[in-house]
């Protein structure tokens, strides 16, 4: 299959992996995490690696540099980069390749830059170290690349420190750094996953552009097929360290061969029709004229009003820093507002959770973004779910155990999970336990704070469907906080669009999602990547005109 594809490739073979096997150590036992992968990459070609977490895509990506993470080892196969066998090459040879001929762009630029040095100094480090350029040439080069990446103020931005530029700019500065020695190959490891959709576009456009300008080969790792489709010439779909499917991007999007690939392609198609608005007075929750912030000077929310009816889902959308999570903190009482009030069934709730009655606390429950830190690692599932039952509903042990089994059934997990610890569950299962804990309190409103953004796409979709089914059965309302418009489309009845602490548009889903939009809603909507390899080019063209 590979040979057939190679005919359509661009230049000579740059990187070749044959039967690559990598093992990782856990509890003194070696497990295979990459199980015999063949990979061919030609000069100037962009290869997309896609799969859920644990697919081995990052491990393969860094193996392209002849490197493995601590606790991992290459147990078989070969990696040949431009004629050099990396698995057996001495450390010194590999060290000379890295940074100069193979570069790496990590997921979190903020964690990868040294906060104590200016961007341009960090840019110059690799070329000077490898003896490619001297420092004044490197500085000139940096400014040239900043221009090509269309960074704002390209002549001076290099003289800023990492904390003085935005997340998207920092990610582009890292791409520039990878380009510093004009490498033959760049490995991009989820470079846009931590960014907002609108920023993601800038970075994707910059990467696409610069890779073409220098004719650099690239491995682009992502869990998001729509993102990969914009850049890659060829895509490899991985799962549990095995290759599922490989093919040219367009061919794969048009005619996926494997069921798993089809599932990935369909991932954002889940939709639910908006339920008709109910006339109720008073609404279940009303947030009226809230202004809130941290400390006396930092105002995060400005005059925000939101209403949530019974059995309805209101989605609050916005980019990071828009104040959507702060809104959740005000509703739960973690952050008393400067102004405004929160009404529950027409009654004003005390601003701080400390002054709310047990019953008021019970009726509003919260589900968090990171199920890992939302569950106490030392408590068994039975205790996690059982505590609200004992605390709010005074159930005795026998009644609690029965209810825990019921709740586990409701979230579609087997009853024997009650005796597991959170460490023995997967991310999606943990999030289900968090849902069960919220349900145990028999609340009328559940606040979901980015509940699916830490999960793999297929798992996230299952969680959304579960939440939907629970709403149909139990008549709870959701305040759904998210940055992901696909999630909003899937689950919401009403949408509240937030920008810098203000509500810019709100209303029924159909109304908000059909034009004419507010200009910010338009920007958000058009920035969501689509499963179409021409989407990015078309969009950039449209925006330029």
């Amino acid at each position: 299959m590979t040979s057939k594809l190679a005919n359509g490739g661009k230049g000579e073979v740059l990187l070749e992996m044959r039967g690559l096997r990598i093992e990782g150590q856990a509890d003194e036992i070696w497990h295979e995490i990459v199980c015999g992968i063949d990979l061919t990459l030609r000069r100037g070609e962009v290869l997309g690696l896609i799969g859920e977490s644990g697919a081995g895509k990052s491990t393969i990506g860094i193996a392209a540099m002849g490197f493995t993470r601590p606790g991992c080892r290459i147990s078989g196969g070969t990696i040949t980069f431009d004629g050099i066998e990396l698995t057996s090459a001495p450390e010194e040879t590999k060290r000379r390749l890295r940074g100069s001929r193979i570069a790496y762009v990590a997921q979190s630029a903020a964690a990868s830059f040294n906060p104590a040095h200016k961007l341009i100094q960090q840019f110059s480090e690799a070329p000077v170290q490898h003896g490619v350029l001297n420092s004044s040439q490197a500085a000139k080069d940096a400014i040239d690349i900043y221009h090509r990446l269309q960074m704002p103020e390209p002549d001076s931005i290099g003289f800023r420190y990492p904390h003085q530029v935005s997340g998207g700019q920092l990610q582009r500065a890292m791409v520039a750094m990878a380009m510093a020695c004009k490498p033959d190959l760049i490995v991009f490891d989820e470079p846009t996953t931590a960014l907002d959709v609108t920023t993601q576009i800038e970075v994707l456009a910059a990467i696409k552009d610069i890779v073409h300008q220098f004719n650099t080969a690239a491995i682009y790792i992502s869990h998001d097929l729509a993102v990969v489709a914009q850049l890659a010439d060829r895509i490899m779909v991985l799962r549990y360290g095995n290759l599922i499917e490989e093919g040219e991007t367009r061919a794969m999007l048009d005619r996926p061969e494997e069921t798993y690939t089809r599932q990935l392609l369909a991932v954002r198609s889940y939709r639910r029709d908006e339920s008709p608005p109910t006339k109720e007075d008073p609404p279940l929750l009303e947030v009226r004229g809230i202004s809130a912030g941290y400390g006396p000077h930092i105002k995060v929310l400005d005059d925000v009003s939101v209403k949530i009816g019974r059995k309805r889902t209101v989605a609050v959308v916005g980019e990071s820093g828009s104040g959507k999570s702060t809104l959740a903190r005000v509703v739960t009482g973690l952050l008393p507002p400067y102004q405004g009030e929160v009404f529950f069934k027409g009654q004003a709730l005390p601003p701080s959770y400390k002054n709310r009655t047990q019953d008021q606390l019970r009726q509003v429950q919260m589900i968090y973004q990171m199920p890992d830190v939302a569950l106490n690692p030392k408590q068994k599932v039975r205790d996690v779910i059982g505590r609200p039952l004992a605390f709010y509903l005074n159930m005795n042990e026998a009644a609690r155990n029965r209810r825990v089994s019921d709740l586990l059934e409701m979230i579609e997990l087997p009853a024997d999970f009650a005796d597991r610890l959170p460490g023995e569950l997967s991310g999606g299962q943990k999030q289900r336990i968090c849902i069960a804990r919220a349900l145990a309190a028999e609340p009328e409103l559940i606040i979901c704070d980015e509940v699916t953004s830490a999960l793999d796409q297929l798992v996230a979709e299952e969680i959304l469907k579960l939440l939907q089914r629970l709403q149909d059965d139990l008549e709870v309302s959701y305040l759904f906080i998210t940055h992901d418009l696909a999630t909003v489309r899937a689950i919401s009845d009403e949408i509240v669009v937030m920008l810098q602490g203000r509500v810019v548009q709100q209303g029924g889903k159909t109304k908000v999602l059909t034009p004419p939009h507010h200009e910010y809603t338009e920007l958000l909507l058009s920035s969501v990547p689509e499963m179409d390899p021409d989407w990015l080019d078309d969009l950039l063209e449209k925006r330029a005109s």
């Binding site: 959770y353 606390l361 830190v373 939302a374 408590q379 609200p388």
Partner: protein, 277 residues
């Protein structure tokens, strides 16, 4: 039980050695009257008798059997050090966790208070307090425990601070749980590994501290057998090239090394450190 055997199998030789030493000391301390041939304070011979014969390790400056006093010394010194360390951890741990869980003014006041206590050198402070309050064993225990609890407080607070900001603690707060539940059920179980490791280290320090005080005459009072004062009482023998006074010192050193081996291993295991990192 199976887990325990598996754990022991995977332990390095240093940890096994440390555990053997600790078990040996505990056995000696528990069975002191059976192991020894004479009474703890009984004068059985003349002063400074040589090793061998009726007296395995000779006699001390008052003619008491050295071996018997070594055995009873284990009981007294280890027992007192253990009780002191436990008390220090109760005080320091409780206030540290509370400062982290409550934060704000409570944290500020407790922390300043601890810094005031820590500003004074502990040995000098202890000498001062013991001179004023007297040198009975309960007072000795309380004074050292309070001084040592400042170190425990700082550690417990730092560890608990990182846990108190986690979402599962926020969940408990929002549920309306009381302070004690949050400390006991949410924060404490997750701060145990560093605290247990610190317990081992603190125990050694307390042990050395008591021995140092005894050597200076303000620790465990005669005629109770104690390794620190045994070194002092028999120190003159060193001038004659006799190693007997070094035996209690050696006993202290061996236990310290043993405990540290076990603590190192425990830290290594719980921190998930690997050799290649």
């Amino acid at each position: 039980m199976k887990d325990f055997i598996k754990l022991m199998r995977s332990s390095p030789w240093s940890a096994r050695f440390g555990m053997a030493v600790i078990v040996f000391y505990i056995a000696i301390a528990v069975f002191a009257p059976i192991v020894s041939s004479y009474g703890e304070t009984e004068i059985v011979g003349s002063e400074f008798e040589p090793w061998g014969g009726a007296f395995l390790l000779g006699t001390d400056n008052l003619g008491r059997d050295m071996f018997t006093r070594m055995v009873f010394g284990a009981r007294n010194t280890i027992g007192i050090a253990f009780v002191t360390t436990c008390l220090a951890f109760l005080i320091g741990g409780f206030f540290g966790l509370m400062a982290a869980a409550l934060g704000g003014l409570v944290d500020q006041i407790l922390s300043r208070l601890v810094y005031v206590l820590m500003a004074l050198p502990p040995l000098i402070f202890a000498l001062l307090l013991l001179t004023i309050l007297g040198t009975s064993i309960p007072i000795l225990i309380v004074v050292i425990a309070v001084l040592d609890s400042t170190r425990v407080y700082r550690l417990a607070r730092a560890v608990a601070m990182n846990i108190a900001v986690m979402d599962f603690v926020e969940v408990a707060r929002l549920r309306g749980e009381g302070l004690m539940w949050i400390i006991r059920r949410e924060i404490l179980p997750n701060s145990m590994p560093p605290l247990v490791a610190e317990f081992g280290l603190r125990f050694c320090f307390v042990f050395l501290f008591i021995s140092a005080l005894s050597f200076l005459g303000l620790g465990i009072q005669p005629p109770t057998a104690d390794w620190g004062s045994m070194v002092r009482d028999n120190a003159t023998l060193i001038t004659y090239g006799d190693v007997t006074p070094l035996l209690p010192a050696g006993a202290i050193a061996l236990l310290t090394v043993g405990v540290n081996f076990v603590v190192d291993w425990f830290l290594h295991k719980t921190a998930g450190l690997r050799d290649d990192q």
